[in-house]
């Protein structure tokens, strides 16, 4: 059985690991919604420039194609139409675009450093570059890859041509 001192040491270590995340949460609480929106507007120049990449626009393009199909099917409450629409979506293209976007965001996050006199969204993003965020990004990538692999297997199994 673990000794109480060792347990406390271990817990203190965990708290230390979580410190960047806790700081982020504290900042979010302190700043409030209006401050975040204000900061977002203040940093919109940088966001527009960094978000204008072929990968991010590719992902947006996939979403644009996806929304009308789903909204039309859901709006009609037609299960059959929804199912056939879902089958018509190019999941391979959609997921690969999302993957590229996630990778691009991960890559660009490190580059974003904007001097600011007040805590802006970039400062918050910088704080959010904690091990936990990295883990979440990796998790999203892994899930997305898994979905894509399954999609590939299904296509190969059904003998349909691939995207």
């Amino acid at each position: 059985m673990e000794k109480p001192d060792a347990r406390i040491e271990r817990m203190l270590g965990m708290i230390e690991d979580l410190e960047p995340t806790l700081k982020t949460i504290k900042k979010l609480q302190e700043s409030g919604l209006m401050s975040i929106l204000d900061a977002l507007a203040e940093q919109s120049d940088a966001i527009f420039n960094y978000a204008s990449t072929m990968e991010v626009l590719g992902a947006a393009s996939a979403v644009i194609r996806f929304i009308p199909i789903i909204s039309s099917a859901v709006g009609d409450l037609d299960n059959e139409k929804l199912e056939s629409s879902m089958r018509a979506i190019s999941w391979n293209a959609l997921i690969s675009n999302l993957l590229a976007a996630i990778e691009s965001i991960g890559r660009e996050m490190g580059k974003i450093e904007m001097p600011s006199t007040r805590p802006g969204i970039m400062a918050l993003l910088s704080e959010a570059r904690s091990p936990e965020t990295t883990f979440l990004l990796r998790l999203m990538r892994a899930v997305a890859r898994d979905i894509m692999d399954q999609e590939m297997e299904n296509r190969e199994g059904s003998g349909k041509p691939q995207e």
Partner: protein
């Protein structure tokens, strides 16, 4: 002592550079002056909408006076001379000194140099867009021909975009069947300069809307009396209303200045930090550098060039400021009349090697949802320069 930063031009390049520097460098460290002959910033991609009566000029234009609230001085007037050796800009009788100069003067339209141009209309500036609006509102039927006098003009996709917008405009007026719309352009296919990813769907849309195209048409003269466009081989195209991009030239203070101009006669610059090759306190961005760096003329290029140039200027003044790498993406929120469409192209390889046939392009849309993209960018653009909501 604050550094004197002088910016020539209050459009996409100059306006955004001023606001970016102001956000980064405190007033005590930089005294910013913007000089512009019009005294205002227009959202130029909406000139098409002004021509069609869908926007009032006041909705897409902000006076430079608004710069005052952020401590930026504005001077309305035309630059007549730039003396880089003595760091001096002349505006009429005023001499304005600088420590850092950012040139984003745009282009000069030179209709007088083109045979018969005075009988044509255009929408490449506010005043002419207003004149075209009146002409279109009186148009009851006949042949409208869109064309260009030059290979290098602002917003390369716009002749075909405007043709589709005109189709929608006349449908709404219930007289589309009485109007023949033609685009006569030097490109071998509609928007061929962006490659088949863009050109093929646009060609189909034009056909679907009953818009004619005369591809590979090199306009050499306009016969105003006979109402005909004259092509390179003498071929003629009849018109009742000619909407033609005027010749674009570098501003006079550039063309006669060996320190500022590149071998092309346009402003010297480079696609990395936008500094003049001999004078590192002089930057040049926007339409007036397009021929020198091998890229088209468009506000979005000036926008991203402003981000980069402003970061270098900030670095020059405050000492430690990471430069923003130049984003070579071109993004165009375009209109097909009935819907919106976004084309986006990476010009990285085209800039690196002029022999690259076309940039790497893709598109999203055509979708009604994307009609709003143009309006959002319009508001964002003006707010990004002046703050507030216009």
């Amino acid at each position: 002592m604050p550094k004197k930063v002088v910016i020539v031009g209050a459009g996409a390049g100059g306006g955004l550079t001023a606001s970016r520097i102001r956000k980064t460098v405190p007033e005590g460290q930089a005294e910013i002056t913007v000089i512009d002959k019009t005294g205002r910033t227009d959202f130029q991609p909406s000139y098409t909408l002004v021509s069609l009566g869908n926007r009032e000029p006041s909705q897409i234009s902000v006076s430079m006076d608004k710069f005052a609230k952020t401590g930026i001085r504005s001077v309305k007037g035309e630059v007549t001379e730039v003396d880089v050796r003595n760091r001096m800009v002349t505006v009429g009788t005023q001499k304005i000194e600088y420590d850092t100069l950012v040139l984003s003067p745009g282009v000069k339209f030179d209709g007088k140099s083109f045979p018969g141009y005075d009988s044509a209309y255009h929408f490449w500036d506010m005043e002419n867009s207003i004149a075209l609006r009146k002409k279109l509102s009186e148009f009851r039927g006949g042949k409208i021909v869109l064309g260009v006098t030059t290979q290098m003009y602002k917003c390369p996709p716009v002749p075909w975009e405007m043709a589709m917008m005109l189709d929608d405009y006349f449908r709404a007026r219930g007289i589309r069947d009485r109007v023949e719309i033609t685009v006569a352009h030097w490109a071998r296919k509609p928007m061929a300069m962006f490659g088949p990813v863009i050109s093929d769907p646009v060609g189909r849309w034009l056909e679907e809307k009953g818009i004619k195209t005369i591809d590979g048409f090199k306009l050499t003269a306009i016969d105003g009396e006979g109402q005909k466009l004259v092509g390179e081989s003498g071929e003629k195209v009849d018109y009742d209303l000619a909407i033609i991009a005027p010749p674009h030239r570098p501003p006079d203070f550039v063309s006669g200045n060996a320190d500022l101009a590149s071998s092309s006669g346009w402003l010297d610059s480079n696609a990395k930090n936008f500094r003049n090759r001999s004078y590192d306190d002089v930057y040049a961005i926007g339409d007036a550098i397009a021929p020198s760096i091998g890229i088209g003329m468009a506000g979005v290029f000036a926008h991203f060039q402003a981000d980069t140039a402003a970061s270098y200027v900030a670095g020059d003044i405050i000492g430690s400021y990471d430069p923003v790498p130049y984003n070579t993406l071109g993004l165009c929120a375009s209109d097909t009349g009935d819907a919106g469409w976004i084309a986006y192209c990476d010009f990285r390889h085209k800039i690196a090697d002029a022999r690259t046939p076309f940039p790497d392009c893709r598109s999203m849309g055509r979708s009604r949802i994307l009609k709003v993209a143009h309006a959002i960018y319009e508001k964002y653009f003006l707010a990004s320069i002046y703050g507030g909501w216009y």
